[in-house]
Amino acid sequence: MTNVFVPPQLQALIDGRPSVELPGETVRQLLRVMHEKYPQLAARLWDGEKLLPGWMVSIDGRVPPNVMSAKLSQSREVHFLPAIGGG
């Protein structure tokens, strides 16, 4: 199980909690479970195939490459963060 931290503005969709525990070997699997348990939350984050534009995922402080297939088996926490760019 991975502790999934939810941005404050979306916490109302999970009864005000800051995080939820979800299973999944990959980010994709985790989002599928989220879709089953918290469909409103999942709908704000992905389109069923990929993250919605403007989001990125951090796993234990690291934003992994190829995020949807990133492994979660050893991870403790996942954050959904606003995507960042730069100049």
């Binding site: 931290f5 941005p7 404050p8 503005q9 979306l10 709908a43 704000r44 919605l52 534009p53 403007g54 990125m56 951090s58 234990d60 402080g61 690291r62 934003v63 992994p64 490459p65 190829n66 926490e77 954050h79 963060l81 606003p82 995507a83 960042i84 760019g85 730069g86 100049g87």
Partner: protein, 750 residues
Amino acid sequence: MSTAKKYQVIGTRPIRHDGVDKVTGRARYGADVQLPGLVVGKVLRSPHAHAKIVRIDTSAAEKLPGVLAVITSKDLPNLAGKIVDLGEGAVNMAHVSANCLAHDKALYKGHAIAAVAATSAYIADEAIAKIVVEYEPLPVVLDLLEAMQPDSPLLHPDVFTDRMGEPSPRPSNISKHIHLEQGKVDEALVEADVIIEREFRTASVHQGYIEPHASTALWNSDGHLTIWTSTQGAFTARAQTAEIFEIPVSQVTVIPCEIGGGFGGKITVYLEPLAAALSRKSGRPVKMSMRRDEVFEGTGPTPGSVIRIKLAATKAGKLLAGEAWLAYDAGAFPGGMIGPGCMCVFSAYDLPNVRIDGFDVMCNKPKTAAYRAPGATQAAFACESVIDELAETLQLDPIEFRLQNAAKEGTRRADGEVYRRVGLIECLEAARASDHYRTPLIGKNRGRGIAAGFWFNIGLKSSCTAHVNPDGTVTLVEGSTDIGGTRTSVAMQLAETLGIAAADVLPHVGDTDSVGYTDVTGGSRVTNATGKAAYQVGLDIQRQMIDRAAVMWECPASEVTVERGVYRHKDQSIAFKELAVKVPHLGDPVVGRASIDAGGATNAFGVHLVDLEVDTETGKVSILRYTAIQDAGTAIHPSYVEGQLQGGAAQGIGWALNEEYAFDDEGRMQNASFLDYRMPTALDLPMIETIIVEVPNPDHPYGVRGVGETPIVAPPAAVANAIYRATGLRMRQLPISPPRLWKAIAEAGG
């Protein structure tokens, strides 16, 4: 062990590969493009900051001899609601298109209304003058706090405040509200011994790249569109152009020219779609170049801001809580860097309790664009000013106070991210140990300031290919346009991997047809991400060279070893260059390739020190000494790292002291030239001293973090803190220009 000893190539200072072409004037920039049948494109821009476009009559312009095409927004498809992820985040393509050519409203003075292609610039100018536009002027809103009011003139009736996917019930100039929160802020505030709360303002400033935007397009009769342009990302220019015209990306080739500065301002397309539409209509290649006033008025500055900071600490100097309220001016369309502003504002501190609200606010100014660490400099100016005031209130040394509270491995940032290994503490220690900090500053009206800065430095996607030449050199084709010397820093990583000299790698920037997909050159990502791709290309080539050596020595490849470019089998050895000569006779040509997603942030911190003197009679500030300290992870080419630190510091000093968009009440920019928009020159600054700290990035094979953006973040706060030491005045509005500082001194009785 120092970098130079650990590596053969990394940490050395070879001559840059593109140097000769640039110093001899042979490098081809956007405006240098010449093609058979080339004609000139010009843009008609709005004289109003906010006006309904009632009617555009182009008939007189079209009849002018020598005019080949006239376009308006009617020549571009309607892209309503089209959201596209361009690698650095989501973009509303309808807004990008409407920024290139205004649709039903002009939203800022300088907004492009129509464009002309003609056989000469003179005819194009004459044709522009013959286009009749009937405007219905609308109320103008320039101040972002006014723009946030419910009764403010509305720029877009179809934009609602987005709260992470939930829109506001009514349209608003506030296009986004971000809320971040960690810990128990209210409880921590009650426990605090000292609380300081202040408000800050910063002005819109431009990147000020020396090369104006320039693009040439040829829409061939077979339907293929080729664009030569000054861009930070050939692939993002291709994607934006294809999306604007609703054509497949394979129908567009973007050839990136040399770029005379970008700093984030050459990611969004401006001229590319106009040149393309004019070429499609005229059947001729069309070249367009902006004048300097068009660059100021028609392209993106970085946001002005209003920021409120509250910080709480114990008597012993432990930070307990922070609150921030940030409003960033996005200009005429959504997207003013408020996200990174919120994420960066407290990023340098181990603050367990934080609450941050950020607002992206539209007003009748040019659409803002990224500028070196977009959103971070404004936030750092505010936060670092309060940190300095807190340190003084607590009677603590400003470096010791920062060290006591510095972000480090394990610190959770306000957005929830937990840092891996970062180097802020090392930068602060380097500042404390520096000759600059240990040298007393004496003299009247003089002060020393310090501030910290942070930028994420991103990863994203990069591609490279390389082939081994029979003379022992390696030709490298990379997808990253070179805005900061990355040809060399990427080539050096390939050279290090192969164990050859940097001069033996011949780097080239490919166009969108000749190299794999590569995200934009931005986010300080290229030496990190494309360098990582080059490293993998090196490993790929090394594997193939081992195979060729095995053929030569008639042994299994598993028995061949390689170290620092020397291949060995038992008592036999051969250097890479010698083996390369034999490759044509040993098997297939050797070509390496890599396409990678480099993942996320490398997190780079910097600390800046400044000594300055204030002329209390004029308000003029003279920089006496300046030192920029930064964790580069590993400095691939230390001269380039130093150059980035110096350039960022110089731009940050300009932001601090002089630069701002000055508008009249109707939204007309009053200083759209370098004569009136005051950027620092070499005469204004001392040599910027640099100290490179190397705390290797654990996610990069050579430890690279990237360096380009962090150095602009700290300067305004460092300068403001130094001005306080010199005058006793806390200046909380940028720029701290001579009139503003003189007035403050006068009001204080000085």
